[in-house]
């Protein structure tokens, strides 16, 4: 976060929590600012996009000016949203609250229901459907 000024950071907190608010035990998107290193390769990309976005935001009318960006520079807007979503859903606290685990469950793995193989009875009884 060293590359972002306190003014940029304050703007970002408001905008990020507008995109994904703190609600129903799920943290707001500003949580990604706490640990950007988790997805290192997107860190700089996020900071670069954030700085461009912050330059275009008017402090007195933050929400409105953010959605003006959506209309005037959709590419910038959608790229920023994509990075925010990737960073947000890579965050441990978010994943824990989603009940999907923060990491794949080594060494036991996931329990996947074997499924009812007898559902195949009518398929098994079909005549061959391939051509010789």
């Amino acid at each position: 976060m060293n590359n972002l000024s306190s003014d940029e950071r304050n703007k970002l907190i408001k905008i990020l929590d507008l995109i994904i608010p703190n609600k129903a035990k799920m943290p707001g998107a500003s949580i990604i600012l706490e640990n950007l290193d988790i997805v290192k390769h997107l860190n700089q990309e996020f900071i670069n996009s954030s700085r461009v976005i912050c330059e275009k935001l008017e402090i007195l009318n933050l929400t409105e000016s953010f959605y003006i960006i959506k209309k005037t520079d959709f590419r910038l807007f959608s790229e920023f949203i994509n990075i925010v979503l990737i960073l947000y859903y890579s965050n441990n606290k978010v994943l824990e609250n989603l009940n999907v685990g923060s990491v794949p469950p080594f060494p036991t793995g996931n329990n996947l229901k074997q499924g009812d193989i007898y559902l195949l009875e009518e398929v098994f009884l079909k005549e061959k459907i391939y051509r010789d």
Partner: protein, 532 residues
């Protein structure tokens, strides 16, 4: 082991190169394999880390143009609705494939006779059957015997669990009276050789840290290396060379330090896939072959087939844990595989039932399609989607057409200064009709299975994994590049052993067939030179 005077050079250490290296390593031949990528480190695969899904957007992206790793070369696919997908390493694209491993069908080798289109293969299913069986044994394949869509296939491990997804979809297919069957999967469900069984982690297509997915770096390569094959990594071949008589005499490659190296051999096997192989041959010009090596037919780079992919996604009310389990391997339907002219097109397609997406893909694609909002309702919408979606890939058979090509890009070069490939590809009318039919039928079965909503689109952009047809096999040298034993008509000792030699592409994933073809070619090399 370093070999200075090899009998054979294999170019590429992916699905085909690995199978060839193992097969020929059973002889006394001295073999060098050159691979532009390096060895993978399974303990560092993304799915061992919290940010695993985000790697799909960069270093484990399927597109070399996005990954831009040192091992990658750029591919200009701007003139194609389908982006090219691959992976360059020891193991090649099997590192990222989903392990869906069906065979071609008997009819796939006779499309001219049966449907009056394209050409027949000069070999047939029965020729390849022993090599399919051998390859299954070497790779480790799971599935269920008794599928009415295939001749009898035996010797597989127990199929991947259906899970709730499989049950839901199986019932949906049954209601319509349509064919379905558990996937043929290059994923082992029992411990085998030195490998652990599948523990249903899910993201198989970002590398399997468990070693359950049968990527060739852990199947063929350990044995080939033990048998003495010299596998040189981070070595990119610039050209295959011939002497003044036009006979094969070796290759020129750049080593890991960028130094140009000349390696001599009287037999070269190319296994660089349907894009990399024509690129290499077109870059291998000489006085005798000014238009590219082995290109007297003019067919190098022509007839590119990519398997345009349609996608159907169903949203279900109940949580069916769809984000758990091997992503690409649940079940498949071949109800619409064989030709039925009343549908308005020839040939057919496979419906491949996938599991659901992880959190990032669910959110990114949901927001992109405006199905998941930002703001106050975001969390509820994600909760209503995650674990409740089922995906379906529609793999359609595109036919070989001369205007679908791989050429050399006049402007773009790789990090060694070698001209990059350029793709020109258009869907034919037959492909468009087939795709539309598949999407409609996919939606129909999703609704039959109880989906509350189903969306469809296609062709999906970055799904050009199956790269075929650009160095066609055939008996007639005017109408093909290699003969039925994989040897170039124009150059003795030059073999092409990957899916570029496919005459047609069928409507299924190709890894099983391309490896069976490789083993068949190598077996014939051994017989011809009395090596066995």
């Amino acid at each position: 082991m370093t070999i200075n005077n090899p009998d054979v050079i294999i170019i590429g250490a992916g699905a085909a190169g690995a199978a060839a290296a193992w097969s020929l390593s059973q002889t006394n031949l001295k073999i060098v394999c050159l691979e532009q990528g390096g060895y993978m480190e399974p303990d560092k695969y993304p799915s061992t880390k919290p940010d695993w899904e985000s790697k799909r957007y960069e270093s484990f992206n399927v597109s070399p143009n996005i990954r831009r790793l040192p091992s990658d070369y750029p591919i200009n696919d701007s003139e194609s609705p389908i982006g090219i997908a691959n992976y360059n390493s020891v193991g090649g694209s099997t590192i990222l494939y989903s392990g869906h491993f069906p065979r071609f069908h008997p009819s796939d080798f006779k499309v001219k006779d049966l449907d009056g289109v394209a050409d027949n293969w000069p070999i047939d299913y029965s020729t390849l059957e022993p090599y399919y069986n051998l390859n299954d044994k070497m790779m480790g394949v799971s599935g269920l015997t008794g599928d009415p869509a295939y001749p009898l296939i035996e010797g597989m491990f127990e199929h991947i669990p259906l899970g709730e997804v499989g049950e839901v979809m199986g019932k949906g297919f049954n209601k319509l009276g349509w064919h379905w069957w558990p996937s043929y999967s290059a994923i082992i469900t029992r411990e085998y050789m030195h490998r652990g069984k599948c523990i249903n982690l899910g993201p198989c297509n970002m590398g399997c840290p468990q070693g359950a997915k049968s990527s060739v770096d852990i199947t063929y390569w350990p044995i080939a290396l033990k048998n003495g094959v010299d596998l040189r990594t981070h070595c990119r071949v610039r050209e295959v060379t011939v002497d003044s008589k036009g006979e094969i005499n070796g290759v020129v490659y750049f080593d890991r330090d960028g130094m140009e190296v000349r390696l001599l051999a009287k037999m070269v096997l190319i296994a660089c896939n349907g894009i990399g192989t024509p690129r290499l041959l077109l870059n291998s010009t000489s006085k005798i072959f000014p238009d590219g090596l082995a290109n007297r037919s003019g067919l190098i780079g022509k007839n590119l087939m990519l398997h345009p992919l349609g996608y159907v996604e169903g949203l279900f009310e109940d949580d069916i844990n769809s984000n758990i389990g091997p992503h690409g391997c649940c079940l498949q339907s071949q109800e619409f595989y064989e030709t039925d002219i009343s549908r308005g097109f020839v040939r057919g397609y496979t419906m491949q039932i996938l599991r659901g997406s992880g959190p990032i893909e669910t959110a990114v694609s949901g927001v992109g399609r405006r199905q998941i909002p930002l703001g106050d309702d975001h969390h509820q919408a994600v909760k209503d989607t995650l674990g409740k979606t089922i995906g379906m890939g529609i793999i359609i058979e595109d036919l070989p057409e001369l205007h679908n090509t791989v050429t050399l890009d006049p402007n773009i070069k790789d990090s060694n200064g070698i001209p990059a490939p350029k793709i020109n590809y258009k869907l034919s009318e037959n492909s468009r009709k087939m795709l539309a039919h598949g999407l409609a039928k996919g939606k129909e079965v999703m609704m039959s299975a109880g989906a509350t909503k189903a969306m469809t689109f296609g062709p999906v952009r970055n799904t050009g994994w199956h790269l075929m047809g650009t160095a066609k096999m055939g008996d007639n040298s005017a109408n093909s590049v290699v003969n039925k034993f994989g040897e170039a008509h124009d150059v003795k000792g030059l073999y092409i052993i990957d899916s570029s030699i496919f005459v047609t592409g069928a409507g299924v994933n190709i890894a099983s067939t391309l490896q069976a073809v490789t083993l068949y070619i190598c077996d014939n090399i051994k017989k011809r030179y009395q090596l066995i």
